[in-house]
Amino acid sequence: MAGATLQRRLTWLQARLSRRLDETPRVKTLVLDVPGWPGHIAGQHVDVRLTAADGYQAQRSYSIASPPDDHDQLSLTVERIENGEVSSYLTDVLAEGEQLELRGPIGGYFVWSTESGGPLFLIAGGSGVCPLMAMIRQRAARGSRVPTRLLYSARSLEEIIYKKELDLLAERADGLEVFYTLTRDHPSGWRGGSRRIDGAMLAEVGFGAEQHPLCMVCGPTPLVEAVASTLVELGHAPDRVKTERFGPTGG
């Protein structure tokens, strides 16, 4: 079983917000300086801890969107969740230069590095693209040519996170292909998909089961459940289908 075994103690580190980038109307990326960051593998996450003046603390997990090679700097992409006590603070309140606490990296199963090889089939729903983006960025940064396809489902064009960067990376024609499907609204002349991900779309966009691709699925539970089950029905070995949930759980 490929992955990162990690048995050392995870201590809380001070992180300073260096920049906050607008990704979509509801999604922002926090670029954090984290002195002492021990490094990570694409796909891992961190726990963020916020402390109020009265000592009350709240913790949430966020996937790391940046590749492993940015020393002492981490990007977390955060979706503002309605009534989310942590997410709305991170997207709207925390000012550049201010600090928060985090610890990690956490999770060693839903990971990919260039040495893991491919083909690599990434399937994202909404902000589930974040940990997959770390993999795509690492692939690009290392000059990897591992055949990689991203199938990315979003509600509308404006809700696609990282679209400019993904389109630029796909233009390099180095083995990365990006497919979008929009489930709610799509502009006239839209050439991507215009429905939820289904078996036909997975068969058309993905690699055949005979190529034994590593399939990484991240998104809200209904998407992950449906996609993972359909991939198995299409003949992919269950142990080549890795899943991660991403979405509001009260956050």
Binding site: G107, T221, V224, D239, T243, T249
Partner: protein, 199 residues
């Protein structure tokens, strides 16, 4: 540095001392798993007691469902920070399954369809502390929540309550299971916030 602007939700006194440190209360029942949901037909399902025991045991689904079961109402706590209060389960007590089992082993590994495992001290699944649950909220346990049956060990973080459980393997030593190999805590007590190795 200015004082922290983070205020957080209004402090919920009703959660009071029922919410372990670092947890928040949810009404949803989030689903977390590492791979596709396994689907084993009930005709092929068995539950086994194996490993360091004098005599292994096995039940078919029909045999398992004829064992005495009970309704269990407990708070559950997931390492991903959510807690859910007063969840209602129906299941067979692990005490019932271990009746007559002779062993000197002090630990066990719960094993599941799909290859998932998790480790537990024997003392944490006996004396009314653990069940093999087949119903949630009055309905058969849904596959994404671990159906047809999952382990229920509500006093530990919920990854210890193995979904799709197919048996318990008695172990002489405490061996890490799936998430424990990836740095999660060997024991996982939410009240001591034992999320990760070293906590």
């Amino acid at each position: 540095m200015p004082p922290p602007a983070f205020q957080g939700r209004p402090r919920d006194q009703t959660a009071g001392n029922r919410l372990p440190p670092g947890q928040y209360l949810t009404r949803d029942f989030p689903v977390l798993s590492a791979g596709p949901t396994p689907r084993t037909p009930l005709t092929a399902w068995t539950f086994s007691i194996t490993g360091e025991v004098a005599e292994p045991k096995q039940w078919t689904w029909d045999e398992f469902r004829k064992l005495p079961s009970e309704t269990i109402t407990r708070d559950i706590h997931c390492v991903t920070k959510w807690s859910k209060f007063d969840t209602v389960w129906e299941g067979v007590s692990v005490d019932t399954l271990l009746k007559g089992i002779k062993t000197t082993a002090g630990f066990l590994t719960a094993f599941s369809d799909g290859g998932y495992t998790t480790n537990l001290p024997l003392a944490d699944v006996t004396d009314g502390k653990a069940w093999v649950a087949f119903a949630f909220g009055g309905s058969p346990l849904a596959p994404e929540h671990g159906g047809p049956a999952r382990l229920l060990v509500p006093h530990l973080y919920f990854w210890k309550s193995a979904k799709w459980v197919r048996g318990l393997r008695f172990m002489a030593r405490d061996e890490p299971g799936f998430w424990e190999m990836y740095g999660y805590h060997m024991y996982g007590d939410p009240w001591r916030e034992q999320r990760y190795s070293g906590d």
